[in-house]
């Protein structure tokens, strides 16, 4: 019993030292709760039909299926720069950015394949009706991938310096799950949350996907222009963040942390 208590106390101490993680966990849980509360608020069905021109099922399936493309985002590169690997790569002549991008290629392709399978399964199983603008769909998927790479590079920089990405993952995915237009139509959210939606890349991605699938909730051109600009900014910040992180660990020598 004494041994159990000692172990328990140690774990408590460790957990207590990650105060931010504890706060994030609580807010994530509340965020999930709010997502479904808004969804079940009665007006959802009419919102997707009237605003997006598609049934609730079509709206949800498109959100969940295409979510695979952007879901890994912030943490998409972290497994390739673990504590035991980063130094070995950094002493090789291979550019670290090239290493990261080529290592994650397979995961990106798997994400795309999962999206295709999920979407086609949804369409066939539930007889969902969309009208397809394939060129816009391809463009949105590409922008989704590149914006994810931008976010992934930011997350990687964060991990290299702070040795964790949980906070960023939460910030961008748990929280934006509520305002990212993936499952909950932005239009049914209160004004403040609607404003927040416009600063998330997910909003532009999922809205763009819905427009490519027949919705006229926004004009394709303005979405494309805005999302392209946003993606370029994310990529620039991402590469800058990674460069800063690599410089930082070179200065303090904390590449490997276990």
């Amino acid at each position: 019993m004494e041994q159990v208590l000692v172990i328990f106390k140690r774990e408590l101490k460790v957990k207590a030292s990650y105060r931010l993680t504890a706060v994030v966990t609580v807010i994530s849980a509340l965020s999930g709760l709010f997502s479904y509360a808004f969804l079940g608020n009665g007006a959802v069905v009419s919102t997707t039909t009237t605003t997006y021109g598609m049934s609730l099922a079509a709206f949800l399936v498109s959100g969940v299926a295409f979510g695979s493309i952007v879901s890994s985002g912030v943490s998409m590169f972290t497994e390739y720069a673990g504590p035991s690997q980063i130094e070995e790569v950094m002493v090789s002549p291979t550019d670290f950015r090239l290493f990261i991008l080529s290592s994650s290629l397979l995961s990106l392709l798997i994400g795309l394949a999962i999206t295709g399978i999920m979407f086609l399964s949804g369409v066939m199983l539930f007889n969902l009706i969309y009208s397809y603008n394939l060129s816009l769909l391809v463009a949105m998927v590409m922008l989704g991938i590149f914006s994810s790479i931008g976010l992934g590079l930011i997350g990687l920089g964060f991990q290299i310096v702070y040795k964790q990405t949980y906070f960023l993952s939460w910030l961008l995915y748990s929280f934006t799950g509520l305002v990212g237009n993936m499952i909950v139509p932005v239009q049914i959210l209160p004004g403040v949350l609607q404003s927040l939606a416009y600063v998330t890349p997910q909003y532009y991605f999922f809205t763009g996907i819905r427009v490519a699938l027949g919705s006229n909730v926004a004009t394709a051109t303005s979405l494309l222009v805005t999302f392209t600009g946003y993606t370029l900014i994310l990529l620039l910040i991402g590469f800058a963040s990674l460069n800063w992180a690599l410089r930082s660990v070179r200065q303090n020598g904390t590449h490997a942390w276990s």
Partner: protein
């Protein structure tokens, strides 16, 4: 400190004296706070990519970076790609290195099945894989049994006779004695040469 081509230099020092930091500076991992380090004529801070093309490195945590579920050979093939070695050439070198380090019978086994000493020898094989003119080794025989250690020493001395420059840190004075034509003591950030008799005495 100047190290000429075909020299082997051994750095000894207490834990925390900076041996690993020195290796990490020379391998471009850490930026020095002051001073200058030149490898093969290239500055480690201003021309890190040029330096990396000319070094093979065994880090103190050098057992890392291997995938547990890949074989020793597959892991080395992966690093061969990172070191930009043509596939065929890498395959030949890997075969020779596994034999030199007595791992030829285990090359096809998963890395997770390797003992500590075998993992260290595989890490050494990785450091030697690029066939670089300068080899930086941070405690190369840490955890390696005495028989394999002898084999490693023979291999390193053989490389020196081929003209490779080896920079090696160790806590093991016997190793310093075996390897070191030039032995330096690193203490409180200062390097001082020590003679073979001093090495033997310690």
């Amino acid at each position: 400190m100047d190290v000429g081509q075909g020299d082997i230099v051994t750095i000894v020092g207490k834990n925390g004296s900076g041996k690993t930091t020195l290796t990490r500076i020379l391998s471009t991992l850490v930026t020095p706070e002051r001073g200058e380090a030149i490898v093969c004529g290239f500055d480690v801070v201003r021309e890190p990519r040029q330096v990396r093309k000319r070094i093979g490195v065994l880090l103190n945590a050098g057992m890392g970076g291997f995938h547990a579920r890949l074989s020793g050979k597959e892991n080395l093939e992966y690093y061969g790609a990172l070191y930009q070695i043509p596939q065929k050439e890498a395959g030949e070198r890997i075969k020779a290195l596994l034999a030199d380090l007595e791992l030829q019978d285990r090359g096809a086994d998963q890395f997770q099945s390797y003992s500590t000493g075998m993992r260290r020898r595989l890490a050494l094989a990785r450091a030697l894989l690029p066939n670089a003119p300068v080899v930086l080794l941070d405690e190369p025989t840490l955890g390696v049994d005495p028989w394999s250690t002898e084999q490693v020493h023979k291999l390193l001395l053989g490389l020196v006779s081929e003209g490779k420059t080896i920079f090696c840190t160790t806590n093991n004075m016997s190793e310093a004695k075996t390897l070191g034509k030039h032995v330096f003591l690193l203490d409180e950030g200062k390097l001082s040469p020590i003679s073979q008799s001093e090495v033997m005495a310690s």
